[in-house]
């Protein structure tokens, strides 16, 4: 029964995918959307079933469906596990997934390929579930690559624009760089433990006798995998570009779910990372650098979705910071709250873009507060949440990260705080530029300004609600999430009591957020500053605006050389190699041509050669004897 139910949970979105693929053209767009949504909703409901059951009984559900790959002594099953961690993830993946599906029904209504869109979304949910539900690393890898594929498909959904296709390709390839790391990590673990099953690996590690060096390398490789999928330094550049996709995609994949896969993986393998403090330090450092760097880029971006994208990168950096400090529950907590408010923000921005018929540049927005009240209010709530204002969800989770950082290392704490201040700044800059003062767009746009329909605003409201109260799952004092996740964590993360220091830090964090808000207020609302045109930007701002030229550096250091080598190989090495082979034939032919001259038809010469041959042989006979 449970097996069937679990299979249903997994396959329901897949059925949706198949249906929309094969019959999507034949049915009306609305129905396609509804079916797509219902399949995900169904999964969500099953998840809730499992979840309540788990809460009551506290027992995991793990089953191996069939043998998949067997390599020598390594036997890999296709198995699934439903435990605290995977169910938690499933809850918000399918939950937010459902909301975003609902949103998409309206958002994508004008697109001719709507059925395909829902098919891809369903497929994504299916792979995401696979990723989460697998009981070993290789099943996770299926999902891992599968969501990458869906991300590719959805970023490039408007395939007629080659720039979007480039972005999609870039996302896929950057992810693949990480995937190679992931795979190598898997190989090392497989060689060490002869299994990829989480619990078996955990058992093996617990029993001791492990090669920490090898595990260290494995952990590092796995982390490289995570940097690809979760957009960390140095592989984060694909995420901002991925905003080429339709906005629901950005919300679902590139904010709430897929990009958190790296965090899921590290949390899953917490017992491994706990053994390798060096790698944890690396994770923390990478996380905090990413957080600061991305936040600083976000300060000056003008594309509304780009701002949110850098914000996502930055927030993910904070989560990795938490992971690096061993504070897995904190990271997970932030993942969940972030999913709420960031999804809401993206959907809100989508609503704005929808109203402006595709306009994404904030310089051409403004004053939308009155026209789009629901969008405005929900986004404002989410912005407060992400800025870390009490009592919204983001406050609690971010505060815990800062707290952990403070205990761990003051520098990390300082950098993380800087990132939060910047976050507050650019988020409010976004709000001010978008919703306040006068509308700066064209007259044509102004005429069509409107609040989005209910299908769009409904998910916004739900998400805003969650962003408001989401913090309760791990309020200081109750620490429900901490307790809930205890079974899957190897080392217990002790929940800190609320002392003076903690309150002081909370105050500092809150103050920092307010500083950011005020700074933004002063600059953009009070002075009415509107960012300059692209070519008017100069100085350090230009560097930031151009994202520190990191894409250009990558192009110069990696892409261009490879292309140059490729061209060189094609134009020089290959023809030369070919020529070399041909030259053997040419040489033989040349000898033949020369030989023809010797064969000149003269009997005298022939006789002479004849005699010469005889003489040579006779002389040889005498010499040799």
């Amino acid at each position: 029964m449970e097996t069937n139910l679990a299979l249903l949970l997994l396959l329901s979105p897949f059925v949706g995918f198949l249906f929309n693929t094969f019959f999507g053209k034949k049915i009306s767009k609305g129905i396609a959307g509804v079916i797509g949504t219902l399949t995900v909703l169904f999964s969500f409901l099953i998840t809730i079933c499992f979840f309540t059951q788990l809460i009551q009984s506290g027992k995991n559900f793990e089953i191996s469906l069939f043998d998949w790959i067997s390599v020598g002594n390594l036997q890999i099953d296709f198995g699934i596990v439903l435990d605290q961690l995977s169910l938690l993830w499933l809850l918000f993946v399918t939950g937010i997934g459902t909301l975003i599906h609902v949103y998409s029904i309206s958002y994508m209504h004008e697109d001719e390929n709507m059925a395909k869109f829902f098919a891809y979304l369903n497929l994504f949910i299916f792979f995401m579930i696979t990723l989460v539900i697998g009981n070993n690393l290789l099943v996770m890898f299926i999902g891992w690559e599968g969501v990458g594929l869906c991300s590719y498909l959805l970023i490039g959904f408007w395939y007629k624009n080659q720039a979007y296709n480039d972005a999609a390709k870039k996302a896929f390839i950057m992810n693949r760089i990480g995937d190679l790391g992931f795979l190598i990590g898997i190989f090392i673990l497989a060689a060490q433990f002869s299994t990829l099953n989480y619990s078996e690996i955990q058992l093996a590690i617990a029993s001791g006798k492990v090669n920490t060096t090898a595990l260290g390398i494995a952990a590092l490789c796995l982390f490289i995998g995570a940097t690809g999928k979760s957009a960390q330094m140095p592989l984060y550049t694909w995420l901002p570009d991925a905003m080429a996709g339709p906005t629901p995609v950005s919300a679902l994949i590139h904010a709430a779910t897929m990009v958190t896969a790296g965090i899921f993986m590290i949390t899953r393998l917490n017992f491994l990372f706990d053994l390798t403090p060096e790698i944890q330090n690396v994770i923390a450092i990478v996380g905090v650098i990413t957080a600061v760097l991305a936040a600083s880029i976000g300060l000056l971006q003008n594309d509304i979705k780009k701002v949110l994208a850098y914000s996502t990168v930055s927030q993910l950096g904070l989560m990795f910071l938490a992971l690096g400090m061993g504070a897995y529950t904190v990271a997970v907590f932030h993942v969940i709250t972030h999913a709420f408010f960031k999804a809401c923000l993206f959907l809100g921005s989508g609503s704005v873009i929808h109203a402006l018929h595709g306009e994404q540049d904030m310089r051409n927005m403004g004053g939308l507060r009155k026209v789009m009240p629901v969008t405005f209010w929900t986004m404002l709530i989410s912005t407060l949440a992400i800025a870390g204002i009490f009592p919204f969800a983001g406050f609690w989770s971010k505060d815990e990260i800062l707290l952990a950082a403070f205990e761990h290392n003051k520098i990390l704490w300082f950098l993380a705080s800087v990132a939060s201040i910047m976050t507050a700044f650019y988020m409010f800059r976004l709000m001010y530029l978008t919703f306040f003062r006068e509308f700066r767009g064209t007259e044509e746009q102004r005429k069509h300004l409107h609040e989005s329909p209910a299908l769009i605003t409904m998910p916004l409201v739900v998400l805003a609600l969650l962003a408001t109260i989401g913090g309760i799952i791990n309020l200081p004092g109750s620490f429900w999430l901490n307790h809930y996740l205890e079974p899957v964590l190897a080392t217990k993360h002790h929940a800190h009591s609320l002392g003076t220091q903690e309150f002081m830090l909370m105050g500092v964090a809150l103050a920092g957020a307010i500083i950011g808000i005020v700074w933004a207020y002063a600059k953009y609302l009070k002075q009415g500053f509107v960012p300059k045109e692209d070519d008017a930007i100069s100085g350090f701002n230009k560097i930031i605006y151009n994202k520190y030229y990191i894409d250009e550096v990558y192009t110069a250091l990696v892409v261009s050389p490879i292309n140059a080598i490729s061209n060189f190989s094609r134009e020089t090495i290959e023809p030369q190699l070919s020529k070399l082979i041909f030259s053997l034939g040419t040489a033989a032919n040349a000898i033949g041509s020369q030989g023809r001259k010797l064969q000149n038809g003269n009997i005298g010469l022939y006789l002479f050669m004849f005699v010469l041959g005889i003489c040579a042989i006779i002389i040889y006979l005498f010499i040799a004897q």
Binding site: F66, V71, G72, A191, S566
Partner: protein, 480 residues
Amino acid sequence: MDVSILLLSLLIGAIVTYFSGDKLASKVALLFSLVSFMLSLNILYSYSNGNDVSLVREWISLPKISFALLADGFSLVMVLLTTILTPLIVFSSFGKSVENAKKFYALVLFMSFAMTGTFLAADGLLYYIFWELALIPIYFIALVWGNGDIEERKKDVLKFFIYTLAGSLFMLVAFAYLYTKAESFLLQDLYKLNLSFQEQTWIFLAFFLAYAIKIPIIPFHSWQANVYQKAPTIGTMLLSGIMLKMGLYSIIRWQLPIAPQAAKEYLPILVGLSIAGVIYGSILALRQKDLKRLLAYSSLAHVGLIAAGCYTLTIDGIHGAVHQMIAHGFVIVGLFFAAEIIYRRYNTYAIGELGGIRSQAPKFTSLFLIVVVASVGLPGTYNFVGEFTVLYSLSQINIWFVILGGLTIILGAYYMLKMFQNVMLGETNSNSFSEVTIYETITLVLIISFLLFFGLYPKPITDLVHPSLNEIFSTINSLK
């Protein structure tokens, strides 16, 4: 019933096809290739029931040569690959008129016959004969039915023929030498030989030359792209889908067990060379302007990985290589078929002239994309199983091998997606592109379903090849 009936059915098929006339030829060829497919299934069934389906008959008493066909799991899998792909390849040409069809299809079936023989032969000379026989039909197929400038094609195809023949003639010398040692060509007798290290080295090199050219491993690949490009697509499919597997199969079946010490001694060089092929092929594929050339180089990269798996001398590597061989056979046929579908409509392979097909042919786009994704080795497709296993075996040899070999994951995605983007996506092409026909759809769907099914459930193949590979592996590892 033994396996010789398979050979017989294909040979008779070739003859009957020739005499059936141009109109019926393709159907007759399909019929016979399907019959051979059924027969091979039947043989597989009887093999898995524990019956002995091998055949050993005296053929020539002096020098002692037997008509020996060995049917174990490994060879049966390769035979199945041949007998599945042959009808598929024949079928893929339906709906397209072929000049001089009876000759063409007769040659296709004859080639299939020779390749089946190569996979089955358990006598060195018989094996060699089949090996060479497979070369003749593909030569004519590429020469007569190929595309592009005839003068260029003549040169390239002749180069291919001479090059591959050159390699295999050295293999023949090695066999002759082995015969003087063993007084027999039978596989098991050759396995038992006690060769000195030096002898093994020379024999290994002679075999290597033959296989490295056939597969091809760099730097012996210079025939490949030209021939793939210029041969008719059916020929390219046969070449890349099945024929190059002959080389890989032979590495496992002949080269490694006969000269294991040499293989062990030169392992780093061999694996290194294979992996260099992976990287070099991938890099070359990045900037190709011709679709078929691009696919040719992608194939170069993929088979490099398979060869690397074989030469790791680990059981995992060999297993992975076998999986990957089969997967690659299907995927490359699918890719070349997609290229052919485009060619039928636009009459060009130039990537620069393509693009914007997706909006006109969504069904084709989806099918093509799945094949592309499979060739990139996405988990869930059969290619992943092989790629994963091979890379795993590389990681056991040296971590650097897996890092370098693993670049295929990145570069492969890069050039394949780039190709897909340039060929299929973008603004709608001004030339109209009609959606895939029913024949084309069936072909692609069959390929895809195979790849997906075994991607999720490779166990049947694993179970089939496992015992025979283990046996070969123990021969490699037994002290010599």
